[in-house]
Subunit: 357 residues, 2 copies
């Protein structure tokens, strides 16, 4: 019998319902059939608002160094933000993306195929620059304060995000070609930007993405563009038309929440923060203080995020198992959490999905 591959996975629940859904992510990984040849070691790590209140930092150095030196991947829950700016506090997930150079934020948004109007798209969001460089300053003027922030777009980051978008389009096509039912006939990448106003920054994103996708590897991939405002409009008018959408950081953030609205609940939508040989799975929802502690958070976004992490660690067979178990739960539609109109508790949904593995 072949030796099992051991994957070391950091677990960063964060705040609020992060603490309720990350354990579900751990359990589904542990429950994967031994025949897949995988073993998991888990390492508990800290980050978030509660950590900030205890330790004075939202992202302890230890969390970063353990992820860097000991882990293959991680699951990140969600963090709460203070309601007004607090000196020294800033979002640990944004910092983590930069510190680990997790340059792509991959957000698949799909309904089950039996939905009345099925959609199946992935938003590939650049994850390291744009306004997220957080270089800001404020000056005082006779008319009151004026604040400025830098939006930075580089050839390098634009090229690699468009390249991974092309690769994801090809991979999706391969899975379709292997017989998976699909609403798309061929791979398509839609480049989103606002170069009609931002001719240099978004112009660079647009032209670099176009160039990257001209690589002969991507010969079978159709490429088109949408201005970001029109993209949001189209997303709601004809979501079935989109396969892979690639966007700079901020537009990607906005578009992925918009796309999530189309599938009924943020509680269904996973993401992966992807770098070279490393991936952090992260549900798209927040820490949801309004429902925390009630045991009713939807675990599906986290379960799918665990699968997505596995995909980017080249464990596609294991990922496929998790996706299929989740889809079976949704298609049956009997044990659904309240965000989907059901009455099931987190624990009941998890158990239903585990037994389908």
């Amino acid at each position: 019998m072949a030796a099992r591959r051991t994957l070391k996975i950091g677990l960063i629940p964060g705040d609020g319902i992060g603490k309720e859904v990350i354990p579900a992510g751990r359990r589904i990984l542990e429950a994967l059939p031994a025949s897949l040849g995988l073993k998991f070691d888990f390492i508990d790590l800290k980050a978030g608002w509660e950590t900030f209140q205890q330790q004075g930092v939202a992202l302890p150095d230890e969390t970063v160094s353990v992820l860097k030196s000991d882990c293959h991947g991680a699951l990140f829950g969600a963090v709460s933000s203070p309601t007004t700016a607090v000196k020294g506090y800033s979002s640990p997930i944004v910092a983590l993306r930069k510190k680990l150079d997790l340059y792509a934020n991959v957000r698949p948004v799909k309904t089950v195929l039996t939905a009345p109007k099925p959609i199946d798209m992935v938003i590939v969001r650049e994850n390291t620059e744009d306004l997220y460089v957080k270089e800001e300053r404020t000056i005082q003027t006779p008319d009151g304060p004026v604040a400025e922030a830098i939006k930075r777009i580089s050839y390098r980051a634009s090229h690699r995000i468009a390249t991974i978008a092309g690769e994801i389009a090809l991979r999706r096509q391969k899975i379709r070609a292997a017989g998976a039912p699909s609403i798309h006939s061929g791979p398509l990448v839609t480049i989103t930007h606002k170069s009609n106003v931002l001719s240099q920054t978004d112009g660079l994103f647009r032209s670099t993405a176009r160039d990257a996708l001209k690589d002969p590897r991507f010969a079978s991939v159709a490429v088109e563009e949408q201005i970001v405002d029109s993209m949001v409009y189209k997303l709601f008018r004809q979501p079935e038309a989109y396969d892979v959408i690639v966007a700079p950081n901020l537009y990607g953030d906005i578009l992925s929440d918009g796309a999530a609205a189309l599938v009924g609940s943020l509680g269904l939508v996973p993401s992966a923060n992807v770098g070279e040989g490393f991936a952090i799975g992260e549900p798209c929802h927040g820490s949801a203080p309004d429902i925390q502690g009630q045991g009713i958070a939807n675990p599906i976004a986290t379960l799918r995020s665990a699968a997505l992490m596995l995909e980017f660690l080249n464990e596609e067979a294991a990922a496929a198992k998790i996706y299929a178990a989740v889809d079976a739960n949704l298609e049956e539609g009997k044990l659904l959490s309240p965000d989907l109109g059901g009455t099931a508790k987190t624990e009941e949904v998890v158990q239903d999905i585990l037994r389908r593995l």
Copy 2:
């Protein structure tokens, strides 16, 4: 008989279907009943891509100076953009907003009240700063070009946009109190920002808007906030909950296209670019090269933009006439343009609405 007030209105059709809808805007103003005490003088003005090709400038100085010195308001159609950056060309409407200090872009999005799920909101978009200051630069690095743009948010612009948002909320409430049927029980302003990432710029927008809306005049106005990504999500999940949404320039651009998707067509959605005592009505749609010249563009966005312009020139009774005529056409639903699933030509829709005035 009282002397009639003469309003001088600039007409800037621009490109594409702009040339088909702006004449409709002129006709509805001319057709207003004399009893309203209004007369109109129209002045034809140039701007756009065709103008750029003829004169080398997209916004001739003459257009700006005539608007400034001779006009009370204007109607702007739409302009085409070149598909790749062209030296010297930049969007004339963005320039016009800045040159005439049209600091608020007001975009009402509503369905008829008889719709299955009626919505009735106004997006109040800051119109002079944010990334639209278009201060960009590109530097060459060993890793290729890196481009930067400035996002500028000032106390002054944030304060005045929040103030006009509050005023609009009060005005809408007054109209409701006068007996207009409505889905809202009281005035609400929702402040949109991304201060969890941009603590200085969007933080300034947020805190300034909060302050402005604490003015005792706005005591009856409820105020809440939404992070922009979550705002897009909510916009699609519970659009009926929103009354007035105030946002920095770029988020306002994106949100208003998103809101337009909710009412079925951009062809229905008007806007007004509003400054001190001056307003330019502008349909939210673009120049639509795909349908230009076919006589099938929906004129309603322009007719409503003409009404909105009148509102901000303090001619509310005249505006109300136009809104009512448009709503009657939509409620009957017999003469609709193709974007609404009908087969009527622009001319037929215009005639149907004119006879209802």
